[in-house]
C-alpha cells in the first residue's frame, strides 16, 4: 500500500488530472485505428447515424455512473428503459403528449424508492436492483403482453427526438444536455459534494453529517431517470416500444462506466469521462463490422478489446484493495 501511496504522491494533482484524459486517449486511438479500415465512418452521415444509435447507451452509461460513484451499482437500468418505452405507449391514451414527462417522473420516483429500500433496509444495491430488474422486466412484459407496439404518431416529444438539427441528431443533443446539467449539479451543489464524499469514505461522510440515505435516493432516482430517457431514445429510434427493446444494454452500460475511468469501488470518476467511456463501448460494438472480422468472432473481439481498454483506463493509484 505504502509504495502505491508514495507513487500517487509523486505525481500529485497533475497526474490525477492527466489520468482523467486516458479514456479520451484510448477513444482517439481506437477511432484512428479502426477508421483506417472504414474511413467512411468519420463522414458526417456516418457519425450522425453512429451517435443516433449510441445515444441510448450513452445516457444509460451517464445514469449508471452516479450510483457507481457512490459505491453502489444499479442493475435495473435496462429494465427501466424497456418499461419506460412500454408505458409511453400504454399511457398515451390518458396523458397524450405528456405521457413522456409523466413516465420519466415515474421512473425517477421508482428509482428513489429503490434507493430508499437499498439504503434504509441496508440491502446491497447489487441484489436489490437485481430483484427490481426482474420486477420491472415482468411489468414491461405484462403491460405490453410481450408485444411490440408502435409509438403514436402524435407523440410530438418522441417525434422531435427522432428528428435532427442539421446533421446533429436531436437524441444526442438531449444526451449532452442532460449530461451537462448533471455534471454542473455534481460540481456546484451540496448533492454532488456529498455524493463524492460517500464514494470516498461513506462512514466518514456519515459522521460528517452527510444525509447518506437522501443522497442514495437522489442517485438512484437520477439513474432511473436517465434510464427512462434511454427508453424514450430507443423508442424514438425504432418508432416502436417493446419489453425486449433494451436487450443487453445493462452489461454494455457497466462496461461503458468502467471504460470511463470510474472506479467500481466508488468515489473516483466523472460524467464527462463516462460519456467518453460510453462512446468507446458503442464504437467497440461495431468495430468488428468496420474492421471486417467474421461475425462469429465479434464477442471475443469485443470482450478482449474491452478488457484491454479497462486495463488502460482503471486508475489503480486510488483503489487500495481491488475486489
Amino acid at each position: 500500500m505504502n509504495a502505491t501511496k508514495s507513487l500517487g504522491s509523486n505525481f500529485g494533482v497533475y497526474a490525477n488530472q492527466a489520468r482523467g484524459l486516458i479514456p479520451l486517449l484510448v477513444l482517439i486511438l481506437l477511432v484512428a485505428g479502426s477508421s483506417l479500415f472504414a474511413p467512411g465512418m468519420l463522414s458526417m452521415g456516418g457519425l450522425s447515424s453512429f451517435f443516433t444509435d449510441a445515444a441510448p447507451l450513452l445516457i444509460l452509461v451517464v445514469g449508471s455512473t452516479l450510483p457507481i460513484l457512490a459505491g453502489s451499482i444499479d442493475l435495473s437500468v435496462a429494465g427501466v428503459a424497456a418499461l419506460a418505452g412500454v408505458l409511453i405507449v400504454q399511457l398515451h391514451p390518458i396523458f397524450g403528449v405528456w405521457a413522456t414527462p409523466v413516465v420519466l417522473c415515474g421512473a425517477a420516483l421508482f428509482g428513489a424508492l429503490q434507493g430508499y429500500v437499498h439504503a434504509k433496509l441496508q440491502l446491497p444495491s447489487f441484489i436489490t436492483t437485481l430483484a427490481t430488474l426482474s420486477i420491472v422486466t415482468g411489468l414491461a412484459l405484462l403491460l405490453s403482453n410481450a408485444t411490440a407496439l408502435p409509438i403514436p404518431d402524435d407523440d410530438s416529444i418522441v417525434g422531435w427526438i427522432s428528428g435532427s438539427l442539421g446533421p446533429v441528431p436531436n437524441s444526442i443533443i438531449v444526451v449532452i444536455a442532460v449530461t451537462v446539467i448533471l455534471a454542473v449539479a455534481l460540481r456546484y451543489t451540496r448533492f454532488g459534494r456529498d455524493l463524492y464524499a460517500l464514494g470516498a469514505g461513506e462512514r466518514t461522510a456519515l459522521m460528517s453529517g452527510v444525509n447518506t440515505i437522501k443522497v442514495r435516493c437522489v442517485v438512484f432516482a437520477l439513474s432511473a431517470f436517465c434510464a427512462g430517457i434511454g427508453g424514450v431514445l430507443l423508442s424514438s429510434i425504432t418508432g416502436f416500444s417493446s419489453p425486449s427493446i433494451a436487450g443487453n444494454l445493462l452489461l454494455l452500460s457497466i462496461v461503458g462506466v468502467v471504460l470511463g475511468g470510474t472506479a467500481i469501488s466508488g468515489g473516483v470518476g466523472g460524467l464527462g469521462s463516462a460519456l467518453v467511456g460510453g462512446i468507446i463501448t458503442s464504437w467497440l460494438r461495431v468495430i468488428t463490422v468496420m474492421v471486417g472480422v467474421a461475425p462469429t468472432t465479434q464477442n471475443i473481439v469485443f470482450g478482449v478489446m474491452a478488457l484491454i481498454a479497462v486495463m488502460l483506463t482503471t486508475d489503480r493509484a486510488k483503489i487500495g484493495i481491488v475486489k
Binding site: 500500500m1 509504495a3 502505491t4 507513487l7 479500415f37 472504414a38 474511413p39 467512411g40 465512418m41 463522414s43 452521415g45 456516418g46 447515424s49 453512429f50 443516433t52 444509435d53 449510441a54 447507451l57 405490453s144 403482453n145 410481450a146 408485444t147 411490440a148 408502435p150 430507443l234 429510434i237 425504432t238 418508432g239 416502436f240 416500444s241 417493446s242 419489453p243 425486449s244 427493446i245 436487450g247 443487453n248 444494454l249 458503442s282 460494438r285 461495431v286 463490422v289 468496420m290 474492421v291 471486417g292 472480422v293 467474421a294 461475425p295 462469429t296 468472432t297 465479434q298 464477442n299 471475443i300 473481439v301 478482449v304 478488457l307 484491454i308 486495463m311 488502460l312 489503480r316 493509484a317
Partner: protein, 367 residues
C-alpha cells in the same frame, strides 16, 4: 509493489492486444468495408445456430453465383446492435447494396427499413414484420419484399398430427416461443385452430420457452411432475424447444411415449423424428429462404425487378413448408445431407416459384 504491478499490467495488455490482433488476422479481412457498391449484406441473429447457418448457405450461394461475397453481420438478438452495425456498413456510402435480415423483433423492422432506404439499400426482411407495415407502404420501394413461413399452418399441421397420433383424445401442453414474435403467436393460433377441429384433445397448459432448449426442458419437467402420465403430448413451437421437451422426457424414459412436435426441420429435429423421439416437425427450408430473399434484394438492386411494379402477393409472401413425419423423414434427411446449390440465374426465372401465397392480413398482430 506498484511498480511490478505496472510491469505485470504492461505484459497483460501486451498479451491481450496480441490475442486480439491474431483474432483479427485469423478471420478473412477481405470482407472489410471498402466503399464497394452493390454489396450483398446478410443480417442474422446469431452464428451459433443451425437455422442461421443454413440460411447463410442460401445467401452465399446467390452471392457466389453473382461473383461476390456477402457481408454477414450477427446481432445476437439485439436490435440496437443490428442498427449500429448497419450504420457502420452504410457509413462509407452503400447505394445499390442489398440487405436481407431478420430485424430481431417487430420493434426494429421500421427502423431497419428506413435506415436502409435512406442509404439507398434494397431490403428484404424475413420472419418479423409488424401487422400494419408493408413493403409497399414503407421505405419508398427500397423495401423490396418480406418473406416468411406460415406459422398458423405450421401450428395447425403439428396440432393435427398430435390429434391423429392421439386418436382424437388426450391431454397436451404447449411451449410458446418469444411471444412478441409473429412465428410464436402464429403457431399458437394454428394450434388453437387444430384444437377446435379436434374436440377430444385438451390443451392443459401453455408456458413460454422463449425458443430455448433449456427453458423448455425445465417447463416439461414441471409438467411431468404435475400431470404425470395424464399428459399425452407436448406441442413445442420450434425444434429446439422440442429437443428440450424430449430431453426432459428421456429423464423419465418417457421419450417416444409422450408425443412431441416441433417446427423448423432442423437436423436434430429430423433425427428425432426418425428415431421416434419426436412425432413430427414442420420443414422450413432455411437455405431456400436465404437464397430467395437474397436474390430478390439483389434483383431490385441491379434493376432486374422494379419493386413498385410488383403485386402485393409478390412482395409479402410465405414460402412452402411441409409436415415431416416418420413416413417422409428420409427424403428430408437426404435433402439436408446434400442441399441443392442455388444460383441467381435459376431463381431469377421465377422468384415466386416456391411461394405459398400472400401473407393474409391480421396474422402478424398478436391476439
Amino acid at each position: 509493489m506498484a511498480s511490478n504491478a505496472k510491469a505485470g499490467l504492461k505484459l497483460l495488455a501486451g498479451i491481450l492486444s496480441a490475442t486480439a490482433f491474431i483474432g483479427g488476422i485469423l478471420v478473412n479481412p477481405s470482407t472489410a468495408i471498402a466503399a464497394a457498391p452493390q454489396k450483398l449484406i446478410a443480417g442474422i441473429d446469431e452464428t451459433a445456430s443451425e437455422y442461421w447457418a443454413e440460411y447463410l448457405r442460401g445467401v452465399e450461394d446467390i452471392a457466389q453465383s453473382v461473383g461476390t461475397k456477402a457481408t454477414v453481420i450477427a446481432d445476437n438478438y439485439q436490435g440496437d446492435q443490428l442498427l449500429a452495425q448497419l450504420g457502420a456498413i452504410y457509413a462509407g456510402g452503400c447505394t445499390g447494396c442489398s440487405l436481407v435480415t431478420n430485424s430481431t423483433s417487430n420493434a426494429y423492422v421500421k427502423a431497419v427499413v428506413e435506415r436502409s432506404a435512406r442509404s439507398g439499400v434494397y431490403v428484404v426482411t424475413v420472419w418479423n414484420r409488424p401487422e400494419n407495415l408493408h413493403p409497399w407502404d414503407t421505405g419508398n420501394n427500397k423495401w423490396v419484399a418480406h418473406t416468411s413461413f406460415d406459422g398458423v399452418e405450421s401450428g395447425y399441421l403439428q396440432g393435427m398430427a398430435l390429434c391423429k397420433a392421439l386418436k382424437g383424445k388426450g391431454q397436451i401442453a404447449a411451449i410458446e416461443g418469444v411471444p412478441s414474435t409473429p412465428p410464436a403467436f402464429q403457431r399458437m393460433e394454428g394450434l388453437k385452430k387444430a384444437l377446435a377441429e379436434c374436440p377430444g384433445m385438451k390443451l392443459v397448459d401453455t408456458q413460454v420457452g422463449e425458443w430455448q432448449e433449456t427453458k423448455a426442458q425445465t417447463i416439461s419437467r414441471t409438467w411431468l411432475a404435475r400431470y404425470g402420465d395424464s399428459l399425452n403430448g407436448i406441442f413445442a413451437s420450434n425444434d429446439a424447444m422440442a429437443r428440450g421437451a424430449v430431453a426432459a422426457l428421456r429423464e423419465k424414459q418417457l421419450n417416444g411415449k409422450v408425443f412431441v412436435t416441433g417446427s423448423d426441420g432442423s437436423k436434430v429435429g429430423l433425427d428425432m423424428v426418425k428415431s421416434g423421439d419426436m412425432l413430427a416437425t414442420v420443414m422450413n427450408d432455411a437455405v431456400l429462404q436465404g437464397a430467395i430473399s437474397m436474390a430478390l434484394a439483389r434483383a431490385a438492386a441491379v434493376g432486374d425487378i422494379q419493386p413498385d411494379k410488383l403485386t402485393k402477393a409478390q412482395r409479402d409472401f410465405y414460402l412452402k413448408q411441409q409436415l415431416v413425419t416418420k413416413d417422409n423423414v428420409d427424403q428430408f434427411l437426404a435433402q439436408k445431407a446434400n442441399a441443392p446449390k442455388y444460383n441467381y440465374a435459376d431463381i431469377k426465372k421465377d422468384f415466386w416459384k416456391y411461394s405459398q401465397g400472400e401473407i393474409p392480413a391480421g396474422v402478424n398482430a398478436a391476439k
